[in-house]
């Protein structure tokens, strides 16, 4: 469905979802109404907005298909970020309007949605795609149409050089840097002999290849690689393949089968399991206290952003949770059973703030300034820790169009995830594989 609402704030909603005439009418209605909504700080920005069309951001959202759970939370985070941006005066004095289109988590439909953003909705930029195959399927069309396409995917496809100059990932780190940054902690704290169990498709292969290399650099080794077909529903037969001298089991599964996987692994090993390390991806939107997941107690998980509020919670995280509507356990404030995709969805929030900064830096006025916007984002480097970037400070690489940032390792303890290690940004860096700035705009 095409959504044209962009904020939970009443005033901003009027400005973003309604026509310019409605926005003017609202403003002319007097500051009393604005004060009642608590939006007065944004008033000065909207004075400029009176003569401006909204900035249209095409939001490619997974509302249906395998990515729907992620899509729901990407949507909420996006609405919250736009509400904040609009409350602060929009971008260059213009309100932001989100044009959301479901891509069905399908690459063909994704490319069609990109076409729709440009030629039907006249969007200024495209934004928000998560699943790698949708990004890869959509990116060529974005490049041909010269639509700045800001993805929130964590795939290595951007930095690998596979895509084009119009595709950027400035709000979330990629899988290569995430995996690489895990190796020092795994090798030095959990053990050097690792057995990998991974979903036998591209995402799992990325983990297999990147981690094997990274753990070797730390003096460790992967002593067994056990691929699990994506259609598999029973896992017990794979566990006897795990060598007896394994120190650490590294698991990367995707989809609902992970619940069965964890349960069967727990039953197989009992109390004498090796250290278990995994990625939270397959447990996003899943309550860590779900039946069967008790076997995860004591195990370690990578998190892009800690789901549970930590003892040293920053003001930025507090503000971000409040804006998005997430409680201290990472669930919706209105329904504790509705667990968020906290480790990833911050990418939407941060990417929208990068778009804002980029548009302000190049004094973006319309589609003719799209190349200037690309150059402005490419010129970014250090991104400080702030409310706009609550996950932590970051470094953006303008050549590879990829951002780098801290990673978190959490331990499951008493039914919650407690951070036990935070990587440095340096741990996540690797050699450039592409220089997109050499491509024509």
């Amino acid at each position: 469905m095409t959504d044209r609402n962009s904020t939970t704030d009443d005033t901003a909603a009027t400005l973003t979802s309604g026509s310019r005439r409605r926005a003017l009418k609202t403003l002319a209605g007097g500051a009393g109404g604005l004060a009642a909504t608590g939006a007065l700080p944004g008033l000065s920005g909207y004075v400029q907005a009176q003569s401006a069309e909204p900035i249209r951001i095409g939001f490619q959202v997974h509302r249906t298909g395998i990515g729907a759970a992620y899509g729901r939370w990407y949507d909420r985070t996006t609405q919250a970020a736009v509400a904040r941006i609009n409350a602060e005066g929009g971008i260059n004095g213009r309100p932001v309007e989100i044009i959301a289109e479901d891509d069905g988590t399908d690459p063909k439909r994704g490319a069609e949605v990109i076409e729709k953003f440009v030629n039907r909705h006249e969007c200024d930029v495209g934004f928000g795609t998560l699943f790698s195959h949708v990004v890869i399927g959509s990116s060529p069309r974005a490049g041909e149409l010269k639509l700045p396409y800001f993805v929130v995917s964590e795939g290595h496809h951007v930095a690998s050089g596979m895509l084009n100059r119009y595709t950027l990932q400035p709000g979330i780190t990629d899988v290569k840097s995430q995996v690489q940054a895990m190796a020092p902690y795994v090798a030095n704290t959990l053990g050097k002999k690792v057995t990998m169990l991974y979903a036998d498709f591209a995402f799992g292969h990325d983990h297999r290849d990147f981690f094997s290399e990274a753990i070797a650099a730390q003096g460790g080794e992967v002593i067994a690689r056990i691929p699990i077909p994506p259609t598999e529903t029973a896992f017990t037969k794979y566990f006897p393949k795990i060598p007896r001298d394994t120190d650490v089991i590294y698991h990367v599964m995707v989809g609902p089968a992970v619940l069965t996987f964890v349960k069967e692994m727990g039953e197989f090993f009992g109390p004498s399991a090796p250290a278990i390390f995994g990625f939270v991806d397959s447990l996003e939107a899943v309550d860590i206290n779900s039946p069967g997941l008790e076997f995860l107690e004591g195990s370690y998980l990578w998190e892009g952003y800690p789901r549970y509020a930590q003892a040293d919670q920053t003001e930025y995280d507090k503000a971000y949770r409040e804006a998005v509507g997430v409680d201290d356990n990472g669930a919706s404030v209105s329904d504790p059973r509705d667990v968020s995709t906290y480790a990833h969805m911050f990418g939407c929030w941060e990417t929208l703030h990068v778009i804002k900064d980029g548009m302000q830096a190049c004094d973006y006025k319309g589609p003719e300034d799209r190349p200037a916007l690309i150059e402005a984002v490419e010129a970014m480097s250090d991104i400080p820790h702030s409310v706009a970037h609550p996950q932590g400070d970051k470094v953006f690489n303008g050549k590879t169009h990829q951002v780098f940032g801290h990673q978190y390792i959490s331990r499951v303890q008493q039914g919650r995830l407690d951070v036990v290690h935070t990587t440095s940004i340096e741990d996540t860096l690797y050699e450039d594989e592409v220089d997109y700035t050499t491509q024509a705009l």
Partner: protein, 314 residues
């Protein structure tokens, strides 16, 4: 005007109409139409076995993907240029059609449907399994610089549109000619009464196999063209929904009509596109539309038109 000449005139008129659309439609719709024409070629390939031969296949995604990956892999890993890669893609699909057809045609009815579905699923899993070549579920991009045909940029809007017209136009004229030939009439005879066709001395198995191979080659041509024109090769095109979709497009437009696949693909595309503007449950809208079409247009749009009004429609 005889029926053959009339059919040819209708087909040429449709091609002329498609050419004319480029000059009058906004860019959004010409962009969509380019995609629809490639997919309609796929649907036409399906229509040959389903609509004209009476074989309900649920495995055509395998042929579409064979063409797509045949082209994609030799371009990506072998540095082969577009035209020979496209020919290779078509050859891959035809070969896969020959092998799977020879085996699947040993069955009939529901068993044929299941066997073709199983072959397609095996193909899909192969795409995932050989990830080093295919990049598994993620797929890969064909670089824009490689997407050119003797110096012509296939990513250019106009070139892409007319490439779509050429592909669909050729398949329309080819299938139009084929189904009016003696061989085409034999296929229709098999569809209507296989035993009777066999009793009359036709080599039914051979005819069906030839139909499957031609259909597979055409589906592969569409798959390879999709990769070339839109720059993406991905496993989702090998998944089961791309076996179901050509069936739906054909049923909606009219099985056993030459123009049905185009109309079905067109209607379904815009049904999804416009329904998604109104509701998140756009697939429900599509489902209801298909149920209504089944109830009130059991022979599809073109088929019903032909039965009730325009009896001369090919």
């Amino acid at each position: 005007m005889g029926p053959d000449t009339r059919a040819l005139a209708v087909h040429l008129a449709v091609i002329a109409l498609l050419i004319g659309c480029w000059f009058v439609l906004p860019q959004y719709h010409t962009g969509n139409l380019a995609r629809i024409l490639v997919l309609a070629t796929f649907a036409s390939a399906y229509n040959l076995v389903f609509g004209y031969t009476g074989l309900l296949s649920l495995g055509h995604a395998l042929f579409f993907a064979a063409g797509m990956y045949g082209l994609g892999i030799v371009m990506q890993h072998g540095g082969v240029s577009a035209l020979p890669a496209w020919v290779f893609g078509v050859a891959c699909a035809a070969t896969v059609g020959l092998v799977t057809g020879a085996l699947a045609l040993r069955t009939s009815g529901v068993a044929f449907m299941i066997v073709t579905l199983m072959f397609a699923q095996a193909g899909y899993l192969c795409v995932l399994y050989f990830g080093d070549w295919t990049r598994g579920d993620e797929g890969f991009v064909i670089a824009r610089t490689a997407r050119n045909l003797i110096g012509i940029d296939l990513a250019d809007e106009r070139v892409r549109y007319f490439a779509g017209v050429c592909l669909f136009g050729s398949s329309l004229l080819g299938i139009g000619q084929l189904v009016r030939s003696g061989f085409g009439k034999t296929l229709i005879a098999i569809r209507e009464n296989e035993e009777r066709a066999r009793m009359l001395g036709y080599d039914v198995q051979r005819c069906k196999l030839i139909a499957v191979v031609i259909s597979a080659a055409l589906a592969g041509a569409a798959g390879a063209a999709y990769a070339l024109l839109f720059g993406y090769v991905g496993a989702s095109f090998a998944a089961v929904q791309y076996s179901i979709l050509p069936l739906l497009w054909t049923l909606l437009g009219g099985a056993g009509t030459t123009l049905g696949p185009l109309l079905g693909t067109l209607v379904m595309f815009y049904l999804v596109d416009y329904a998604s503007d109104i509701t998140d449950a756009y697939l429900l809208v599509v489902g209801v539309a298909l149920i209504l079409a089944t109830l009130f247009l059991p022979q599809g749009i073109v088929g019903t038109l032909r039965r009730r009004v325009l009896r001369w429609l090919p």
